[in-house]
Amino acid sequence: MIGFFSYYVPWLGMTPAAILTTVFGAFCVTFVVIRCWGKLVVDFGPAGGMMAAGFIIGTFWVLNHKLPGFGINPEGLAHPDGGIKQFGLIYQGFRGAAPWVDMGTAIGFGLWINGLAGATPGQRAPLIAESLPRIGAAILGGIIGGALTGLVGWSGANLFGY
């Protein structure tokens, strides 16, 4: 059992345990966001939404994204046996340099699917067609913001003589 769950699938870059934890972590955070965020806004107004940011995203960040030790360290904590210990549910690949996969992926897609599942079946295709450009704009904005933020690694500015 342990051997199966911790078997590293090379072409996938994941173990079965990592697949299970990632799917479960994505499910949990998305379900709570769908279920609670809107109701918190209804009950408390905009302050409820700002509370939800801390109580839902913050708390589920601890569940999904915390890493051992300090700092973004995709290798996780090197175990004496040579294994990798990672304590967040959403797996961050360590083979080569895998990019950061955020739980926002699950939340965005889950809210989209939620709207789709609640719609009447005949209306789904036009709804999808209408929403795709807006999703593209959100993704493009994220790429711009993330790439520009990533450029700080390239600036190489020497400050104060250090």
Binding site: M50, I57, Q92, G93, M103, G104, G118, G150
Partner: protein
């Protein structure tokens, strides 16, 4: 213009998440990560969804700022750490599966839901 607003909102949200989240985590550990959600996601949500910077017409499918955070994470690690984009695919697929399962289940639960929840009872008794 609505598209441009969405792009700007997504860029700011992505930059905030990946500009300060790692630093807060490095400085204050778990509490720093929790705090970053409370200070960054809250103001991003206020700007993007409460004040309506994101283009979300009523009655249409919801476009969340999570899309922007997701793509910002990928772009940030590709630019900053020279990450290989394709290696994220299995994890992204797992996230999409989990998110879709939650979205579908929550919609079904909301459809069959009876008014037994405490919030509805509270409103009825008032």
């Amino acid at each position: 213009m609505a598209r441009l607003a969405t792009i700007i909102g997504g860029a700011i949200c992505g930059a905030l998440c990946f500009g300060i989240w790692p630093e807060m985590w490095k400085s204050y550990g778990i509490l720093g990560g929790w705090l970053t959600a409370a200070i960054a996601i809250s103001i991003c949500w206020y700007m993007n969804h409460w004040s309506g910077l994101f283009d979300n017409p009523p009655g249409k499918l919801w476009v969340d700022q999570g899309w922007a955070v997701a793509s910002a994470g990928l772009a940030w690690s590709v630019v900053r750490f020279h990450a290989q984009l394709l290696e994220a695919l299995p994890v992204v697929a797992c996230c999409l599966v989990g998110g879709a399962a939650a979205g579908w289940t929550a919609a079904r639960i909301a459809q069959v839901e009876t008014r037994t929840n405490l919030a509805a009872r509270e409103k009825e008794t008032l």
